[in-house]
């Protein structure tokens, strides 16, 4: 064991960086790691102060063993990303109290960089990224501190040096980021263990969408090519629920749908589809949902995206759960006619209701159907019922018992979109009309700065699709019969008098939509976030391909590599010029600059100024060697000395310049 003692500057930054780097991981880590982190830091400080010694070999082994067992219990598994990140962090913390050699300190620093990196696997937002770069700067400061003289005790300067280094590295990094050939994953990696994400779920039970609308989290952003459709057209379909069990609507068994449609292999059901009107093209950046469905407007075309297909009920399904931001491009026809005929099988499935549930709703249906001339008339009558009776659109409906559709339709009459969509679909099926519930988002907020529509969790919505012979599937939104302003201008205006919009989030930006300047700032920030998501986070192999093809024309990997190296080294050359350039003279005062010019002339005359030679000594030596220059040399020297030691007076510089000019004339005349 050598007595390696880490420099103070380095240790200070190492401890600060350690806390900073581990901090954002804490919510995911078992609580005892906080104690471990603080304990290791304290221990390290005590070692530095000479109070304690490093832990012995057995203590260390015990700590590692306890840590691994603790992690195993904390996570219950060593599969997935979280436990491995936990292990990495534990190693990072324990290595802190095992720094016998300088090499150990380097390992701590390298681990620090890696721990900082793992945060990007969880959060890719701008604030989080800025924070991580701050951490990286601190780790770099620790690295610099390690190489400084022990007497150097200015941690702020060390941090500044780290900042300079990283800022100089920045342009090179950007070049690599854009040009480094991106390739597809080499092997599948263990992904994050599922975290609960706010968002539309796989099923619909009365109350769960209302709960969702308490959140202002971003669901996705959609950028339209050309202008965005009107608000009331923005029905973002997520999934289709056609099975009712108890009071829960769920998806049909996926096996029933058959093959998914892809751009090169359309589904057979796409043949009997008529697309009308204009096509709407848009790209969506979907926030991680931990689910398999993508959102789109009807009627979408299949998209070319790895592992994503169009399901028979016109929505996208991804084979892998969406665990990181996903960007996809869709084109949809807002006007369409599909499935003019429905097979008896599907007709059966779409009219199926649980045996003997909600008897009063069935009676209501029979009564209304008897008073209607045909199915379309029946649909209108049901909607009229919602509209004319005292139905209330509310975020806080009463709790309903069993046969909830009965209680809702005939007793409480207070509900949120899922109550209306669910009960409406029930009434349709009860009358033998094929119907299904669609869950997704409705509306969004148009951001004119970034020209995109931003959809948040409180835009979650449920509606119904009914099937009519010859017309196919038609969208019917029963909520619009109760609260048309929900469809026209969003949730907030629909529940305006209730004062319950984001009631649990007193500080949400969204609550201040009426305040103009707050809205302006919010839209700006959102637009910046959107550009970040589309250009930085969303810079995928495909995106790189299309961007570079636009600017470079056709290219292959070899050409790209060459361009990358050329760009990288040209930029490095510029940085070298900045780092190594003779800027030193610029920094000097005008006086010194002029004097150095004079020294330079003399050097050309074969009279270099010696190291450490003062101006007057130098002048003396020059005068002894070249007496003919004595007058002018002394003039320059006097002017310089005076300018240097007198108060900084501009006329002094002028006098020096004049003297140097005199000196030049003299030397030229000789």
């Amino acid at each position: 064991m050598t007595g390696f003692q880490i420099p103070r500057n380095s240790l200070a930054w190492m401890l600060v960086a350690q806390i900073a780097v581990v901090l954002p991981h804490f919510p995911r880590l078992p609580y005892w790691t906080i104690a471990l982190c603080i304990g290791c830091s304290l221990w390290r400080v005590m070692v530095f102060r000479g109070r304690w010694s490093y832990p012995g070999r057995w203590t260390k082994a015990l700590l590692v063993l306890l840590g691994v067992i603790g992690l195993a219990f904390g996570y219950g598994t060593f599969l997935g990303l979280d436990p491995w990140v936990g292990l990495l962090i534990m190693m990072f913390m324990l290595k802190l109290i095992e720094m016998h050699h300088q090499r150990d300190a380097y390992i701590v620093i390298l681990l620090g960089y890696f721990v900082a990196l793992t945060q990007f696997l969880y959060n890719q937002g701008i604030p989080s990224s800025l924070y991580i770069y701050l951490c990286v700067t601190m780790i770099t400061a620790a690295l610099i501190g390690l190489n400084q003289t022990r007497t150097h005790l200015k941690p702020i300067q060390t941090f500044k040096k780290a900042t300079v280094l990283l800022l100089q590295a920045m342009p090179l990094m950007i070049a690599l980021f854009i040009l480094f050939p991106r390739i597809a994953p080499l092997w599948t990696v263990p992904l994050q263990t599922d975290v609960a994400r706010t968002g539309v779920g796989d099923t619909m039970t009365p109350g769960n969408i209302a709960l969702l609308t308490q959140s202002d989290e971003l669901a996705f952003r959609a950028t339209f090519e050309g202008s965005a459709p009107v608000f009331s057209q923005l029905y973002w379909r997520g999934l289709v629920l056609s099975r009712l069990e108890g009071e829960t609507w769920s998806q049909e068994d996926p096996g029933l749908y058959g093959r998914l449609a892809r751009p090169n292999q359309p589904g057979p059901w796409q043949d009997n589809m008529t697309l009308l009107g204009d096509q709407v093209k848009y790209s969506v950046i979907l926030e991680p949902t931990n689910r398999n469905f993508l959102f789109s407007l009807t009627m979408p075309e299949p998209i070319s995206k790895e592992g994503v297909g169009l399901v028979r009920d016109f929505r996208f399904y991804s084979f892998r759960k969406i665990r990181s931001k996903l960007r996809y491009e869709v084109s949809s026809w807002l006007q369409y006619r599909s499935d003019v005929e429905l097979s008896p099988f599907w007709r059966y499935r779409y009219t199926l209701l649980p045996e003997s549930s909600n008897p009063r709703a069935r009676q209501l249906s029979a009564r209304l159907r008897a008073g209607s001339s045909d199915e379309m008339d029946y649909i209108r009558n049901v909607l009229r019922m919602y509209n004319l009776q005292e139905f209330v659109y509310t975020l806080s409906p009463p709790v309903l018992g069993s046969d909830s559709i009965d209680s809702f339709l005939l007793d409480s009459k207070r509900g949120f979109c899922e109550h209306y969509a669910g009960s409406f679909t029930f009434l349709m099926r009860a009358a033998g009309i094929p119907a299904r519930v669609v869950v997704g988002y409705q509306g969004g907020e148009y951001n004119r700065i970034g020209n995109y529509v931003e959809v948040r969790q409180f835009d979650a919505h449920a509606w119904t699709e009914v099937w009519q012979p010859g017309q196919g599937w038609l969208r019917v939104d029963p909520t619009s019969a109760v609260a048309p302003e929900r469809i026209e201008s969003g949730l907030e205006s629909a529940i305006d008098d209730e004062d319950s919009f984001l009631a649990n989030l007193p500080l949400s930006w969204m609550k201040y939509r009426q305040t103009l300047w707050i809205t302006e700032i919010r839209l700006q920030l959102s637009a910046i976030g959107h550009y970040w998501d589309s250009w930085v986070v969303g810079y995928t192999p495909g995106m790189q391909m299309s961007l570079l093809t636009r600017y470079l024309g056709d290219f292959d990997r070899q050409k790209l590599g060459l361009i990358m190296l050329l760009t990288f080294f040209s930029l490095l050359g510029i940085v070298a010029f900045i780092v190594l350039g003779k800027r030193s003279h610029k920094k000097l005062m005008a006086v010194d600059r002029n004097y150095l010019r004079y020294c330079h002339y003399l050097e050309k005359q074969g009279l270099p100024r010696q190291i450490g030679e003062g101006p007057e000594d130098f002048a003396g030596r020059v005068c002894a060697l070249k007496p003919e220059l004595a007058v002018v040399v002394n003039a320059v020297t006097d002017a310089y000395v005076e300018a240097n030691y007198a108060a900084n007076n501009p006329s002094d510089v002028r006098r020096l310049r004049r003297a140097i000019r005199g000196f030049r004339l003299k030397t030229l005349s000789i």
């Binding site: 696997l121 150097h152 590295a169 990094m173």
Partner: protein
Amino acid sequence: MADVTSAFTGSPRFQNWLNKRMPPASSVTLNQRNIFILPTREGLMFGLLIGFMILAGINYQNSLVFGMAFLLVSLLMVSILHTYRNLSGLTIVAGATHSAFAGEDAEYTVILNRLGARTYEALLLGWNPELLQGADLIEDEEVTLKLFVETSRRGRLNPGRMLIQTYYPVGLFRAWSWVDLDVSSIVYPRPIHAGAIPSSSAMSDEGELIQKEGVDDFFGLRTYQDGDPLNHVAWKSYARSEELLTKQFAALADRRVWLDWQFFTGVDTEARLGRLCFWVVQLDSSNDEYGLRLPGVEIHPGRGPAHREKVLTTLALFELGETGGYP
């Protein structure tokens, strides 16, 4: 930190190449001709880390992970420039040298000088790569360093090329130079304890013998110093106070001593020189006048630092010829 390159620096071909590229000079300014730069083991580890990061970026298809990996690649490249910068433009000037007795460390003064606004940090320099001395030039324009070189035997020591290196700022690269400052110092023979000076050695300028051994007039007492003749120790006073004191005699100040090669028989050259060296030190500290007689050399008695240096240098270089005993 591991010295990745020192393995081949000892080879004669490399030395020849170095001598051509960087001829010995008392003042050397470092530039692209004489600075070498290579990654350290930590730099290679750092590269490996970046490799893992890029792999993580590919497998997680995470742009920000790529971004950070690329930032570290760029940091690595920029650090080459900074490490190089931390040597380039630095002027190293040879200062005074101090002689040493064989077995001691010879001292060389080296002056580091910066011109202009560029600062230098965490420079390491010295002749022994195991024991480099650190220096900063941040506020000062010039620093003076005392560097030591181990000596083993007498002669003219040319310590050869001095290593100057730096890992600053990030330790991922090592920039270094081997600078030959064209300095040398005299290494005196290692003094060998030889007891009292033979009586026959004390003689007058004219070669006339002085009868007494310089014990005539008691002058005073002073603290015992290594090398004082034991018969001059005031034993009585020692018994009283346990303090070793040496009796001083007035006659000593006047004595002129010849140190002669012929004092010894049956002893080899180095042993003779070592003993002569011992007496020189003794006589000098007691401010005696002494002369030296070696085969073919005779230095008349004298005293003072210049005389001491002349005598010791003669002893150091005796029969060594041009090379000075050190390769």
